[in-house]
């Protein structure tokens, strides 16, 4: 996927001016957060579950080497194959090799952000294998040559007419306006692909070392058709998605859907444990798991380790007041919102993603809704510290902050400067009680006035009062 994160500010400006997008974002804002709150309201032990989930994930990450080996040997015991992919390219090549080994021409795909991350669709297409997205949202995006703007509701940036238009154009059908009819049309087209596909590729919400299983949770059932009908099932997942046991899994299942869509449970929850066994009526003949690292093992033991707990529920972006103004595409790469602002710089480099960790007011709402207590603002701040240390943040901002901090450590000079600034602001805006235009800090007065200072500083006034009191022997 083309990296557009360096143009974050321009992307955001375009998004703010896009009436269609704004309408779609309003729908998101009025949907998921309210449903989540209601679902959690019905689960009094939610906070305890969150604490437990955090502990389980921390344990899994601290013992990741052990769990990865356990998982791999279980998968093999079950008759499956495990492939280790250090990078995106390695992952894509591995998947292509499997496809070629069975002479695959078309592959169906369940929804998977990891395959977006590694750029799988583009890669397969370049090598004459046609991937067909089968999640409705992803399918719409594929027809439009578009990318997800949200990790669980990929086409959230689109409205009904957008879907109607692209279906008519690409399917060569009459334009439909009823969502049910559009869905039926997609279903009819996709059914043929499900049957014809040589290989089915899905992601995994979790992998479970205890049994060598992976699990997908979906609401459309497309994932099940993707993974059971073709002869070969490839699971593409990343190394941190470890939940050690099935018992642990049941805890995460209670958290995931509630945090994501506000459902008590997703509609389809499907465990895959190896290929078809003797006596099984269906299932793939081959079962492959591609375990993608792509920078994650570097995060173990560093400042960003907490991020490896992420279960991709999307609660952080659903509740983010910045995301809800600009949508996911503005972030310019695969993962948007607060979780993306932490992950993206790791994956595409901080030089490309410098704006992202700064594009937060640190309001803390993301952290407050995170089902595994990831301190997202703290992790974004850690990127800002890296930028400051490496002097890659804008020089003017860096100098301004350092200059100001120096002044703040020299209180007499600080107060002198502060008093001069107060006088200047009073001179410009005192008559109206506010400033309409500021030579510095234009970002403020571009859109709002600046209330003028009331008069002398509090500390000046306080000192004068005290002085008067001591002159009068303490009597006011």
């Amino acid at each position: 996927m083309q990296i557009k994160s360096p143009q974050f500010k321009d992307n955001a400006r375009i998004a703010l001016a896009d009436a269609n997008l704004q309408q779609a974002l309003d729908n998101l804002k009025s949907g998921f957060p309210g449903k989540r709150a209601a679902a959690i309201g019905r689960l009094p032990e939610f906070d305890q579950l969150r604490d437990q989930a955090k502990n389980i994930k921390n344990h899994a990450i601290e013992n990741l080497d052990f769990y990865l080996e356990t998982f791999a040997s279980k998968v093999q015991d079950n008759g499956g194959h495990v492939h280790w992919a250090g990078s995106s390219t390695e992952a894509c090549q591995t998947i292509l090799d499997i496809c070629r080994s069975v002479g695959a021409r078309t592959v169906t795909k369940g929804k998977s952000m990891v395959t977006e991350e590694i750029g799988l669709n583009e890669f397969l297409q370049q090598h004459s294998v046609t991937p067909i997205e089968t999640d409705l949202g992803e399918y719409i995006l594929q027809l439009r040559d578009d990318h997800p703007s949200h990790i669980i509701a990929p086409a959230i940036h689109l409205n009904l007419p957008d879907v109607s238009e692209v279906f008519a154009e690409k399917h060569g059908t009459e334009r439909k306006h009823d969502p049910q009819e559009l869905m039926q049309e997609a279903r009819d087209v996709l059914r043929q692909h499900f049957v014809a596909a040589d290989v089915g590729i899905t992601g995994a919400n979790f992998y479970i070392p205890e049994t060598g299983s992976t699990i997908i949770v979906t609401n459309e059932g497309n994932g099940d058709l993707t993974q059971t009908l073709p002869k070969v099932h490839i699971v593409v997942t990343s190394i941190e998605k470890c939940v050690p046991t099935l018992d642990d899994l049941s805890l995460f299942m209670r958290l995931l859907a509630r945090s994501a869509t506000g459902q008590e449970c997703t509609v389809y929850n499907t465990l895959s444990t190896g290929p078809r066994q003797t006596g099984d009526q269906d299932g793939p003949e081959q079962f492959h798991v591609v375990l993608v690292d792509n920078g994650r093992s570097d995060m173990v033991g560093d400042d960003l380790q907490d991020m490896l707990r992420c279960i991709r529920c999307s609660a952080c972006m659903n509740h983010c007041p910045v995301y809800s103004q600009i949508g996911g595409h503005a972030y310019g790469w695969v993962y948007p919102g607060p979780m993306g602002s932490v992950l993206t710089p790791k994956m595409i480099g901080i030089h490309n993603a410098g704006h992202l960790p700064n594009a937060s007011t640190f309001c803390g709402k993301c952290e407050s809704v995170c089902p595994v207590h990831i301190p997202l603002p703290k992790l974004m701040r850690s990127w800002r510290e890296t930028q400051h240390r490496q002097q890659t943040s804008p020089a003017t901002a860096r100098l301004a902050i350092s200059g100001w901090a120096w002044l703040a450590r020299h209180p007499r000079l600080y107060q002198l400067g502060s008093n001069i600034a107060i006088k200047a602001m009073r001179l410009i805006g005192g008559k109206r009680g506010r400033l309409h235009n500021l030579p510095v800090g234009r970002g403020w007065t571009l859109w709002r006035d600046l209330p003028a200072p009331e008069g002398n500083s509090f500390q000046q006034q306080w000192a004068q009062q005290k002085h008067r009191l001591s002159d009068t022997g303490g009597n006011p």
Binding site: K9, A12, L16, P321, V322, Q325, N358, A359, S360, T361, F362, C363, G364, E367, S368, H373, P377, R381, W383, R384, E385, T386, Q387, R389, S393, A397, R398, I401, S402, W404, A405, W406, L407, A408, R409, R412, Y414, S418, A421, I422, G433, R434, R442, G443, W444, W447, R448, D449, L450, P451, A452, P453, E454, G455, N456, S457, F458, Q459, Q461, W462
Partner: protein
């Protein structure tokens, strides 16, 4: 940005505690009235209030800009300045929230870390200090007024401040709180965020002012001057007649100064019921 672990209030309110007012750089420069209102409230609650001289800033702009070393130096300076007080009180959840993060700046077990923890345990935002620590009851006060309250993020999520200002406001007779939608959603200020990303910030504050307007309140209140200046500045740009003040000004019955961004003390706009009556 999680709830501070240093918020243990004593079971009994302390008697005449020695309290330092941490004025905060914004209140000091932009709105001294808030400082005087805070002193008045603290005095009414039985505190011995002092204002240590030569205060500057909590260091939050540096902290959130990634300038950790600068922040550490400022933290040490403030730890020293406020060492000899039972409590350190500011009319800002954001700045007190920063004081509660000082321990994170230093290695666990170091002298700096211990001193930072000690300061954090004594540092309280004014409304939560009055309610949670002093168990303060407001002296009789009559204000026939409809207000709405914006929950600033730092106070809300770092210090758990939500009910405290409302409990105090509920003691004002004649006062009604018209809760606005999304009262706990960020106003878009975010310190340097509002100048780094003015377009996004503007959209956020526009939502906030629209919600505040819809509440039909006459006065928008909050506990943090940064957010209040952002919202008042937007309301003024929109030519709104909804006024904005810091919650302490009302609680201390110090409404003589013009509201934020006003040049004189103009009467509040008509209430919803007044409008209905006139119609």
């Amino acid at each position: 940005m999680s709830l501070s672990p240093y918020l243990q209030a004593p079971t009994q309110p302390p008697k005449q505690p020695k309290v330092a007012l941490f004025i905060t750089c914004l209140v000091d420069a932009m709105r001294p009235s808030v400082g005087f209102a805070t002193v008045k409230l603290l005095t009414a609650a039985g505190c011995q209030v002092e204002v240590p001289a030569l205060q500057t800033c909590c260091g939050q702009p540096a902290y959130n800009s990634g300038a950790k070393q600068d922040t550490q130096k400022l933290a040490r300076q403030n730890i020293k300045k406020f060492a000899d007080f039972d409590y350190v009180i500011a009319p800002s959840g954001s700045c007190i929230g920063m004081l509660h993060q000082y321990p994170d700046l230093f290695t666990q077990g170091s002298a700096d870390h211990q001193a930072a923890e000690d300061l954090a345990r004594r540092a309280w935002e004014i409304t939560s200090f009055l309610v949670d620590v002093m168990q303060f009851k407001l002296p009789p006060l009559q204000q026939d007024i409809q207000v709405t309250y914006h929950d600033s993020c730092g106070g809300l999520r770092e210090l758990g401040i939500q009910q405290q200002p409302r409990q105090l406001l509920a003691q004002v007779s004649g006062l009604n709180i018209n809760e606005m939608c999304e009262a706990d959603t960020c106003c878009g200020f975010g310190g340097t965020f509002c100048v780094k990303f003015p377009d996004i910030s503007n959209r956020m504050v526009s939502h906030k002012t629209a919600n505040a307007e819809q509440s039909k309140a006459q006065l928008l209140l909050g506990g943090d001057l940064g957010c209040l200046m952002n919202m008042a500045g937007k309301l003024k740009r929109e030519n709104s007649d909804l006024q904005t003040r810091h919650v302490t000004e009302l609680l201390a019955d110090m409404l003589a100064a013009p509201a934020l961004g006003e040049v004189e003390n103009t009467p509040l706009r008509a209430t919803n019921t007044d409008l209905g009556y006139r119609a």
